[in-house]
Symmetry: C2
Subunit: 129 residues, 2 copies
């Protein structure tokens, strides 16, 4: 498996990270996500990390990078399902993920993205949702 599947659900792109993010997998994910944001006009990226027991500095940086790229493409990134131990590790690593929003689970993350969508009323992309 060299690519993590990205699913389009409503106005969001959804990614579930289940495998170790090696260099090439992480780069492919960043590329796929940015292409899909542009192609689909998605307003949000939902990244589920509930399967991850360990988040090292590489994964932390990857998440922050994805969020930065998504923001430049006018999409918000929400990381969902973070385990408490992972949050503690991230802070200990000095990675507080600036610019990345979090939500307890996918449902709440989706609600965040929908709320952002309702705020951007009158926008052409918002009508189809």
């Amino acid at each position: 498996m060299d690519r993590i599947p990205v699913l389009k659900i409503g106005a969001a792109l959804l990614v579930t990270i289940q495998v170790d993010l090696h260099d090439s997998v992480a780069m492919a994910l960043e590329e796929d996500l940015s292409n899909l944001i542009v192609k689909s006009g998605a307003k949000g990226v939902l990244i589920d990390i509930s399967a991850l027991e360990i988040v090292d500095s590489f994964i932390g940086r990857t998440l922050a990078n994805i969020a930065s790229v998504a923001r430049l493409l006018d999409a918000e990134t929400v990381v969902v399902g973070m385990r408490p131990a992972v949050a503690i590790t991230l802070v200990e690593l000095g990675l507080s993920l600036p610019g990345v929003r979090t939500a307890l689970n996918a449902e709440r993350g989706m609600a965040l993205i929908q709320a952002r969508l309702s705020d951007s009323y009158g926008e052409p992309g918002a009508a189809g949702f």
Copy 2:
């Protein structure tokens, strides 16, 4: 990784299969899904297999089992993202996945589940969606 994460999105449970489904992983998935259907009152199960290049008879049987269990719990299973080669292999294996609905991608699968939800008007569970 011994468990595949299950996400609740709206009235559906979403699973993305990215790793090889060994016996124990498949059994854990079946168990998690059935528990979550009951707990959340989900009306549909969306299984994305776009990452799978090969589907053997074990995976085929697992998908069929999940669909049967879900139906008994009043939820519909939609398999999405199947590659053409996988469809050919499944038929060659004699597995046409009876009782499993399919859709080209997650978005269409979600639409199927929502359509089913709209049909079941007046049901207590349908109001919250």
